[in-house]
């Protein structure tokens, strides 16, 4: 990684990386690989957005799939029932998901830690049950088939290659926005809140504000991911937006390294690829996957791109949360 220190060489490398990403569909015509790459892209959106809430603002959320689902349903319903253009539908998905993010963020006024986690879990379950039971609108478990592909200026985006470029654009956009937030005053305030809410308050950072910002932004990006997914698969049903999906996204964030954007990307890549690579041993693959999660946490709890990988950190905080409770969490650290 030494060459990466030199900014010029770095730029060249990024250039090559981007060109490779852009050229990918021409080099690889296998649509399964493209599909896997697209799935990775969707999960990068989901993981980086959850990372904002859990990694940066320190709020454990087990209901991220709900926002993904809300985005998917809002987008799909607008496109199916009102012939709304994909990109407008995507904005609407982001807005509606964001509003629900605000709603879920409100309990953080009073709750934290495991309590918040269970509320977000409950929220996720309730949203799923609404998808299942509000059959007049969502067609319930039957799902919504035939969701149209996006079109720009009359040009129809269809086929995996076009969707691949679209997700690349969305991923770059998300990474750009996330980077700007994280490196701004807002992002720093979020990290302060994560370390110690009371201390943050004492230096004039209003914790609730930053927690809410994190929830709303994260939900909005998950909504965008949902809308994209709906259009790409052309069919959505409640089975996709379940607790397991939330857990998978959280696992990506934690395995990648909490509070690290590259970490979330790596987490998304690895957790999408590993089950695919283990496909040949179908009976054992989830067994191995579970064991891998445990061993990863034992031998590398800071994640793939955790603290040791990070050169500079304004607060010198340990990645992976450091101390997050104030009284009860503390007494176990010396064990």
């Amino acid at each position: 990684m030494k060459i990466l220190r030199n900014p010029k060489q770095k730029k060249v490398l990024y250039g090559i990386g981007l060109i490779l990403l852009a050229a990918f569909p021409f080099l690889i015509t296998n649509s399964y690989y493209l599909h896997v790459c697209i799935s990775i892209g969707v999960y990068i959106l989901l993981a980086t957005s959850l990372n904002l809430v859990t990694g940066f603002a320190g709020q454990l959320s087990l209901g991220h799939a709900a926002f993904y689902g809300i985005g998917a349903y809002v987008g799909a319903l607008l496109m199916l029932n009102f012939d709304v253009n994909f990109f407008l539908a995507m904005i609407a998905s982001a807005v509606v998901s964001g509003l629900f993010g605000l709603l879920l963020g409100l309990p953080t006024l009073r709750l934290r830690g495991d309590y918040l986690a269970i509320v977000t879990l409950g929220f996720g379950e309730i949203v799923r049950l609404v998808f299942v039971n509000w059959a007049e609108v969502t067609r319930g478990p039957l799902g919504l088939p035939g969701i149209p592909s996006p079109s720009i200026f009359g040009f129809q985006i269809s086929g995996r290659t076009a969707f691949y470029y679209l997700i690349i654009v969305l991923v770059l956009l998300t990474l750009f926005v996330m980077n700007r937030i994280v490196n701004s005053g807002v992002g720093m305030a979020m990290q302060t809140v994560k370390i110690d809410e009371i201390a943050a308050e004492s230096i004039g950072i209003y914790p609730i504000k930053y927690k809410l910002i994190a929830f709303v932004v994260a939900a909005a990006f998950a909504g965008i991911a949902g809308c994209y997914y709906a259009s790409y698969i052309a069919y959505i049903s409640p089975t996709t937006f379940v607790y397991n999906t939330s857990v998978t996204i959280l696992a990506m964030v934690v395995l990648g390294g909490l509070g690290s954007i590259p970490g979330s990307i790596i987490g998304a890549v690895i957790l999408t690829l590993v089950p695919e690579l283990l496909r040949f041993m179908s009976d054992y693959r989830m067994l191995i996957f579970g064991a891998l999660m445990v061993f990863m946490m034992i031998f590398r709890p800071e994640g793939f791109w955790g603290a040791s990988k990070r050169v500079k950190n304004i607060y010198k905080i340990k990645a992976g949360g450091g101390k997050n409770g104030s009284d009860s969490g503390d007494n176990q650290r010396h064990n």
Binding site: G17, Y33, T240
Partner: protein, 381 residues
């Protein structure tokens, strides 16, 4: 930070490329051996809530493949079943569909099981031009899923209406309780029953959903007990039906008639339900009491291979594979030719009856009536 992010994107790209490079290397060996095997995909849930049914389908399809291979294969080529797990989840199904559609050595696909998975996979199979034959998706929406989407199971409408007519016209029930699982399957069937009952002039007095894998039915059964219902129609599968049958006696409903469609046909219903399963009435296409020679051969082969009686979905899995094998025997392993052949297929006898497809790729066959007597399925003439 931003640079790091870009580095990560870059690394991700490299990783993905490395992966594709090594796996496409593996792929080329596949195409080299293409000449001496015919490969059929089998995309079914092997983990998750429907794993049991997925396993049945795989077993059934394997029997059909084994039978062909034992008879010397097709044109001297052995047939291989390529099994992929879709977890019963529509996004995973899309991944599996891409995987199978992209592999040009796959001639056609048996799958998927859940209607949601079939629908998620349909655009991919249709775009790639691969026939998918669903052994278990009975939802109405599958009808319009595309030219390459077929199924060997009839729609909910066919069986649901048949069952409703049996209950109302022949058995004289006027007040019906419908208990259905809260999935695409259960809801679809419940809707069909609702329409059919309205047409027949009978009332649905209780209509309640339950979650797949639920163990406690006390709430819904208490509601049934305090209603006017004369019979319970179940829109779900055998496990839950067995539990409902068993638990009904605790609520004074031991004489309540339970009815269902072929989704409840399984030895598991009798095993789990015990004595409570006796007297359940069901419609279906497959039964171990069937007089069809194809069905009897299938049952014998299945019992020998797996040591148990085949469930309905095993028979559907067998039929789906059988239809594909029949096409390959007649027109070869070419994907488009298989589709063309199947679109006009008529009168192929399988374990679940005579298979013919209509213009939408839906199968046309007549259900039979069954009941359980002393722990065995019996066909009612």
């Amino acid at each position: 930070m931003k640079r790091k992010a870009l580095t990560a994107v870059f690394m991700a790209a490299l990783l993905a490329m490395g992966l594709t490079a090594c796996s496409s290397g593996g792929g080329s060996t596949d195409s080299a051996s293409e000449s001496d095997t015919i490969r059929i995909g089998c995309a079914i849930p092997l983990t998750g809530a429907s794993a049991q049914d997925g396993q049945s389908i795989q077993n059934g399809a394997q029997i059909a493949v084994d039978q062909v291979n034992e008879a010397g294969g097709i044109d001297g080529k052995q047939v291989e079943l390529v099994v992929e797990d879709d977890k019963g989840d529509s996004s995973e199904a899309a991944t599996v569909a891409n995987l199978l559609a992209e592999d040009s050595t796959i001639s056609a696909v048996v799958g998927h099981f859940n209607s949601s998975c079939t629908l998620a996979g349909a655009p991919i199979y249709n775009q790639a031009g691969v026939v998918e034959i669903s052994p278990g998706s009975s939802a109405a929406a599958v009808t319009d899923a595309g030219d390459y989407t077929f199924r060997v199971i009839t729609t909910d409408a066919v069986q649901g209406r048949y069952l409703a007519e049996w209950a109302v016209n022949d058995l004289g029930y006027q007040n019906i309780a419908v208990l259905y699982e809260n999935t695409d399957y259960g809801l679809g069937l419940a809707q069909v029953l609702e329409e059919a009952m309205a047409d027949l002039g009978a009332n649905i007095v209780v209509q309640e959903a339950y979650e797949v894998g639920a163990t406690d039915y006390s709430t819904v059964l208490t509601k049934v007990a305090s209603s006017e219902a004369e019979a319970i129609i179940i829109g779900g599968l055998y496990n839950e039906t067995a539990l409902i049958a068993k638990q009904r006696s605790s609520f004074g409903l031991e004489n309540m008639q339970i009815m269902g469609v072929d989704a409840i046909y399984s030895d598991a219903l009798i095993e789990l339900g015990g004595d409570a399963a006796n007297g359940i009435l069901l419609t279906g296409y497959f039964s171990d009491a069937s007089t069809s020679q194809v069905a009897q051969d299938f049952i014998a082969a299945y019992e020998e291979a797996y040591g148990e009686m085949p469930a309905t979905y095993a028979a559907y899995g067998y039929d789906a594979a059988l239809v594909i094998l029949d096409a390959i025997q007649n027109v070869g392993a070419d994907r488009a030719a298989i589709q063309e052949y199947l679109s006009t297929l008529e009168g192929l006898e399988g374990a679940t009856g005579i298979n013919s497809f209509d213009e939408n790729g839906d199968v046309i066959k007549d259900p039979m009536r069954m009941t359980i007597e002393n722990g065995e399925f019996v066909v009612i003439e």
